[in-house]
Symmetry: C2
Subunit: 224 residues, 2 copies
DNA sequence: TACATTAATGACTTGTCAGTCATTAATGTG
DNA sequence: CACATTAATGACTGACAAGTCATTAATGTA
């Protein structure tokens, strides 16, 4: 990753193996947010050093501050770039859907897993869960721009299913949170508690969750 | 919080308004763990300053180090004192239970809520979820002493229910985690994301979770 | 090639906090 | 009371990291 001075001499004379400066105003911001996402995911928000973010993006810390006012601003940019577009796409897709509500719910949850849960982006919600207490500004921003909008998607599915009689009438607002909790805990397990060996197979976990959700714990009382 | 010399003179001649030292070797440890629990819950593990823990317990930081080798040791003591006894009690209770498995599951989850989730102790699992990545030693300790033992309780309930035909045959290990996830997320909401207004009524939340668990999302197909 | 513009740098300032240790004083005993 | 024991103190150290800014040098233009 880094350029070390080789212990044997090479044809090109490298003064101190320092790559020359490059002026790349356009490319810096996205390179910095990409580096930041990696490190936020790996170490958490508080534990990520901006020196490291800058180094991974191939610049110095001073340069980072040229493009982002603060650590918080950098995080907001990561969310803006990584999550918001996915939300917009999901809203689009759902608008045109015509099948059953059970299937729609399944697609929504599995889609979230594929596009966020199973990717580097999963670090973002994990980080919010872990650190919002210490960074209320960050939490507020994420709540207003992501959670509210994501909840609305689930709300539509549930209301749709209840209206069509596919679902029992439930407390929709509470059910949204109950349904989503296992997905969030799945990424928490995979990004935090993994350190102590305990781990789940995500496929099995999601299947089990959906199965419990749709069918419950008890056998269908067909013969009653 | 701190004792300032008053700018006007007071009848009682307070040299610098400093309470005299007291030697209370016996009482210190539990006073310190109590103070630590409060602050860990409020601020998280990393963000809790040992100066503050000591101050809340009415001693200086040096005294804290007289009784605990490190911040991690202090945390372990908090778990040892707060959580382990509850686990032991739950195991005891469950051994003698004779009713239905649905009812046993309900009692287990609601009992967890009453004794941990709704109390100051809820901060402990929340803290593990949030910070295990940065403190693997802490996570490992908690996994080995609490999570493994708690999972065993749920496992017994599920196996009992499956054996009696009350529950469908399921992947028990995965189901344990899926069932517990919403409870953990509930305390995360209440201890972290509360900062941004979003909040649930715990009673409704738990009822909804149990209802979904036992009955699922769809109406019972009685007439099929 | 000479020069103006400004992207990029990294040493520095400032503040925080875990953990240490020489000093102080509370308490029991003879 | 005199004094030994040891609980308690808090100033200090060392390490770390966010944010700043005077300096450096890449690049385009005349």
């Amino acid at each position: 990753m880094k350029t070390f001075p080789p212990s044997f001499s090479v044809s090109a004379p490298q003064p101190v193996t320092r790559t020359p400066r490059r002026r790349r105003k356009e490319a810096r911001p996205s390179e910095l947010t990409a580096a930041a996402l990696d490190l936020f995911v790996e170490k958490g928000f508080a534990a990520t050093r901006l020196d490291d973010v800058a180094a991974r993006a191939g610049v110095s810390k001073g340069t980072l501050y040229l493009y982002f006012d603060s650590k918080v601003a950098l995080f907001k940019a990561v969310v803006e770039e990584g999550i918001i577009p996915l939300l917009a796409a999901a809203e689009q897709q759902m608008a045109g859907y015509e099948g059953s509500s059970v299937e729609l719910l399944r697609r929504l949850l599995l889609g979230w897993w594929e596009q966020i849960g199973a990717t580097r982006l999963a670090g973002v919600p994990k980080l919010i869960i872990a650190e919002s207490r210490n960074f209320p500004e960050v939490a507020q921003y994420y709540h207003d721009t992501v959670i509210v909008r994501g909840s609305a998607l689930l709300r539509r599915v549930l209301e749709r299913g209840i209206a069509s009689g596919e679902f029992r009438p439930l407390d929709v607002e509470t059910t949204i949170d109950v349904i989503f909790a296992p997905l969030l805990m799945l990424i928490v397990w995979r990004h935090s508690l993994c350190v102590c060996g305990h781990d789940n197979d995500p496929e099995t976990y999601l299947q089990t969750h959906l199965d419990l959700l749709v069918n419950g714990l008890c056998p269908q009382k067909e013969a009653s």
